[in-house]
Symmetry: C2
Subunit: 152 residues, 2 copies
DNA sequence: TACAAAGTGAGAGTGATTCTCACTTGATGC
DNA sequence: GCATCAAGTGAGAATCACTCTCACTTTGTA
């Protein structure tokens, strides 16, 4: 929320062109408060700019991922899911299994800790933390009442 | 390698029936030294028991995953990949990006470390470590010479 | 303003995974 | 051993997320 329309597009698609469609897609991704699939994003974008093609959103998501604007969180029910990533620093994500809410988390991985084991050299890793957000903990029922309700 | 044929099948399919096909599939999975796709496994199984159906292997892999006999490591080139998991304790995996070799790794995640942040309660997590195994580090070329060569 | 590279959208294509269905078979109790 | 039946099997169809192709637009730059 520190970036206006132009800046946002620029940071979402580093080194690539920013069409009106891509700008809208970046805005929609930026507005997502929880984990989303490409289809979720397509739906949100079309609410603002009808007629945007699905392929365009797939391509834009790849570009945004390459720019670090969004990050892949793996697969949920057959579809890849993503989260808008606000920090440039290396970090990970907490994902609420109730409502899909995402928040940042520090990285607990010390690569050098593993190097010893059997000569393996760790160069990267993938970590996602799952649990319940504050709201979903206080909601007693199985279906979370807040947000759009899309669990993980 | 501490289990004979029968024991192996039993531990691979806890609470489910063990057909000859499933036994062969568990043996093939047990023989995998690196990360494998369902198709890799199907190919290996058919070398021992021709005629095994693809659906059967998909079903067996799901059952083995439910029993903790194999673990999903995510997706590589559009296919889910798995590793045979020998330890019953909670742990993670080091995967060689050169040859696919997998080894066990301690868990560095302390859930309580995150609980504070914003009321989020961490109940689970998914971590995979990537890097180069000792053999692949010493191999200068881009194509690793050892193993079946299937990188990640 | 002119241009070349990059992006767009529709629709076809791909391929991993799942489903269906008629059979077969494993585990259990008698 | 034998009946029983839920569970597993295999072939093929179906699904469906994602990618590709292609004929246009457009963007960013000189
Ligand atoms: Mn983030
Ligand atoms: Mn393991
Ligand atoms: Zn929640
Ligand atoms: Zn290796």
């Amino acid at each position: 929320m520190a970036l206006d329309g132009g800046e946002l597009g620029r940071s979402a698609y580093v080194g690539a062109r920013v069409s009106p469609q891509r700008a809208a897609i970046a805005r929609a991704a930026d507005a997502m408060t929880s984990a989303f699939s490409v289809d979720d994003l397509l739906e949100a974008v079309r609410r603002q700019v009808p007629g945007v093609g699905a392929a365009t959103v797939y391509r834009a998501v790849s570009a945004m991922e390459a720019s670090g604007f969004v990050e892949s969180l793996g697969v949920r029910e057959g579809s890849a899911i993503y989260a808008r990533c606000h920090s440039g620093e290396h970090h990970h994500h907490l994902v609420c299994t109730g409502c899909g809410a995402v928040s940042d988390a520090e990285c607990p991985v010390a690569p050098e800790r593993y190097t010893a084991s059997d000569g393996f050299r760790v160069t990267g890793h993938s970590l996602v933390l799952y649990g319940q957000c504050a709201k979903c903990q206080s909601a007693p029922s199985s279906i979370s009442p807040h947000g759009r309700g899309g669990g993980i």
